[in-house]
Symmetry: C3
């Protein structure tokens, strides 16, 4: 019982007073955001929250070559997958919002290069339809990637999302919500080298994304844990282009060892390969759709990418898609879900497909804020990209269990 | 004077109301924990605190070989030893506790591999007697190590504790407090590679610890700064086993340059040595005891460790102990303490003993929360492990001064 | 409207009560410091704030040698320049202050060696005139460097300041404010290796600084955004000496690639150069002056430095100065400013001058707490230090835009 409650009961303050003084509490708590502090003049607000993703994963690698030297090493792994502190709110005016997300799980041994900062921006709202964001953000490419990692349907992102998205980057974005969210758009220029990595050349990146939500705004959150009474549909399309010097330090997802470029380019013969030193033009595009109704949800996304070496004139082309669906057998609590993900990192060579089939069971104790997720994945790699690169395709099996808390 | 005080004085609210509204303040401060925030529905609580250990240390190295090339380099060192932010509380229910500790002093030049995260877990209490903890924690091995580094009797841990404990690790622990703390137990599985380091193989570690407190629960805190009116006794025993691939990246204390394995294994002849590439089984055990009464305190701990190379079948055996005692000449304020620590990193070779004798004087301004500690240590290393490895034993002398603040 | 307001209006509490209960709010907000939490007994206070400096910079390098191999690479760079969380307040008593500043922009790709911690100290005030500070702080050398990076007149520090200051270091400082700030002094011993870098030798550093403020205390803040009604003048002088082993890991500004020693020493012929392995004595000194009145401000600083190799007896001498002035064409809102900076990293060789001429325009939306700054710089480097070291001098042109928010 608060002091305000007591005073209202005693009639010291009126119902109206009560509403006025409790309307904007200087200290409050909001699910999914954490403790919320508001300045007396209401010009400043900061929410401080935290999220933990703690995981156990067992990976049973397929020993296609099981001589001692070539034996694949299974792994039994406890992991602090994502440990974040996040600060969000507004400052000076409600129209000037900020966000600061720190992921301390990026401080690991051996060291990673991603840095601790994730979203780190200020956003000025002129109108809902016209807003300006300056700083580091998720590059708005790939619906699943844009979705918070705490609002996924499975233990983690699909292999295809990881392979195609650029990741985080620093830049300037114009974005807006039209007709109350029926249409959302954003157009942005970025440095072009990824998370916490800043340009030393004059090449930059460009990204644009458009979503249409015919039945009203659909937020970026997987699973229909809300048990939507009316059907929700969202359609999206995005485009990203960038020029990267092959030898430039970068943190671009698609460029690295799990990216379509990182996997696909080495598969080309030496003569047709894009070389390490040259400048490379990247063009990628994607389309996506989501549907939610009465605890049912379905989502799919298709990506296409092309890399062109400026010096060698060599080209790499890739594509991939995933599709996933879930159903709550106990509404808002217990969900079963399945996903099929297909990645072709190099469309011009054979035997390089990567196919993941995943089944998940999730117990949502408090929406996405407190949940336990377990999933099983069969990872099929054709022989060109399998363990030790052949001679056979491999089927690795992965079991993951994750406890997630957003508080 | 708070508003609640004024309203009670004026009789606007009753004594009962006063108690009700102040019982759980939304914003409070708790010594040793920091500012405490509670959500209006009392389902969420977070305390945000901080600790500083700022140190000056002078090390006078014994120049057993003082040619220019072999001259030991004394050091005069100002140091940010431990600079932490800690978040602890509960979320969704009082039974779901969490802890998050960030040590920013780990971000140094030259870079360390430990990472910033220390304790990072969620803990579910089914009963006091049966609790489940998932995440990164201190491996519950070594009473002194389990004790907070802000609740030590000397400036830092004993050399023996550092040499034998695994350190932090990520895993799953079952633990409980039986009969109000007369017996405490924990049993855990860990990744097995130490702080912020996650497995890429399927080897894991196991740890168990049991403490018996015949006169009631004894918290992990050195010195009798509380001036216990009745005697307190605690007895403990712990066991840890792990398999580490010699070439695997790890952050295990006992494996590194200050660990019994790191010091002891190179002392063996090449033929008897455990090799870098092989898998190694580690078994370590310890027993410990503590006594506190009227400002007096005494504590001791004995460790034994064995490493077995799976390929070479070579074995390394080590042991060590420390014993320390303190007395408050001014109760709760001024304490004198002494410690003797003995490490034999390799029981099968001669001349490798490391013996530290330390005397400390501490001024507790506000318990362990605000204190100044100075200590002097004689570091005797037999010639096998002395500076430049012989030909003589060395006696280094170290003076340390530390200001500590927990707030 | 707060509960206190309502109760005062209704006459439930008196004007006096109102003042008493609102005097020290447990939760408050303070511009430039963030949310302020005070414990019920008022013995503990912590303010948690944040600052963002988000920047876009275009660098047009002068292609004095524009063959393909020697072509200077222009850069178009979005950057998270400084992203900080800061905690400051007092603990246990108002006389024991602390500060903790974390700069997460230091966690970048490629990794930097500076570490995350900036100011990290406790400060005990015996008297205003005699205070003791222990921990890491800005070495009190160089007025512009001592000034918060959020209170500068341009987008960033002058090239001369960066070249001459040591940076942050850990140590013990005695300081005080005499006659209400007419004179301020500080004398300190530091480790001597810079930010988050701790000594492994017994060499240490010494620094002293004195300021005289004839018309009253002048805080460290550039621009006369306050529109001072009466003229403000401050004069300062500082001295720093240090011994660094050339091969010792350090984070000293003057030693690195942008420091006078780092630039100047390689310009000497091999025989006269200070060698990498030897111990080097550094002595630097500076004088500075600032004037502010009715929106006008002017500031200047002159530095001199000398390095002496202990083994080779070789010597390097450097000097530099900057002078800058600004005027608010719209008081407190819109300012124009200009700066001239001159660096001679080696007084004993010719053709090594570095001259930067900068013009800035700043829009102070809320003092230094929310402002937009744009500046243009001509960077003239004589041929000895120009791109590819000659054969010609180069004039690089740099445009920077920065949004800054302190909240």
């Amino acid at each position: 019982k608060t002091l305000e409650d007591v005073l209202k009961e005693k009639g010291v303050i009126t119902e109206e007073d009560y509403k006025a003084v409790t309307r904007s509490k200087s200290l409050d708590y909001k699910l999914g955001e954490g403790f919320v502090f508001t300045s007396p003049d209401e010009k400043f607000r900061t929410a401080i929250g935290s999220s933990f993703q703690i995981r156990y994963a067992f990976m049973d690698l397929d020993n296609a070559n099981n001589t001692t030297a070539n034996k694949a090493q299974d792994s039994s792994r406890f992991e602090l997958r994502r440990i974040k502190l996040f600060f969000n709110g507004y400052a000076f005016t409600r129209d000037l919002a900020f966000k600061l997300v720190l992921n301390f799980a990026n401080s690991q041994n051996p060291p990673t290069t991603t840095g601790l900062l994730e979203e780190t921006w200020m956003n000025y709202r002129l109108l809902d339809e016209a807003q300006l964001r300056f700083g580091q953000d998720k590059v708005q490419f790939g619906r699943q990637f844009i979705t918070s990692s705490t609002a996924l349907q499975f233990v983690d992102l699909s292999v295809v999302t990881i392979a195609f998205v650029p990741g985080y980057d620093t830049g300037l974005m114009i974005h807006g919500k039209i007709a109350g969210g029926l249409v959302n758009y954003n157009v942005a220029g970025y440095g072009g080298l990824g998370q916490n990595t800043f340009r030393t050349t004059s090449d930059n990146a460009f990204a644009a994304r458009l979503t249409v939500n015919p039945f009203g705004d659909v937020k970026y959150s997987e699973s229909d844990v809300e048990y939507s009474r009316k059907p929700l549909v969202s359609l999206g399309a995005d485009f990203f282009r960038d020029t990267v010097n092959g030898s430039e330090t970068n943190n671009l997802n698609f460029f690295g060892s799990k990216g379509w470029y990182g996997i696909g380019n080495p598969l080309l013969s030496a003569a047709r390969r894009i070389s390490t030193g040259e400048a490379i033009d990247f063009n990628t595009a994607g389309i996506d759709a989501v549907f939610k109704w009465l605890g049912c949800s379905a989502q799919g996304e298709y990506f296409i990418g092309q890399a062109d070496g400026q010096t060698t004139k060599n080209t790499l082309r890739a594509q991939g898609f995933y599709t996933q669906a879930g159903y709550f057998v106990i509404p808002k609590k217990l969900e079963f879900a399945a996903r099929y993900a297909y990645l072709d990192p190099n469309r011009d060579v054979a035997d390089d497909h990567w196919i993941e089939t995943t089944g998940a069971i999730s117990w949502y104790i408090n929406d996405h804020n407190l949940k336990l997720v377990a999933d099983y994945t069969n990872i099929h790699k054709q022989k060109g990209i399998s363990f030790n690169n052949g001679p056979n395709a491999t089927d690795d099996r992965q079991v993951r269990f994750q406890a997630q808390m957003v508080f």
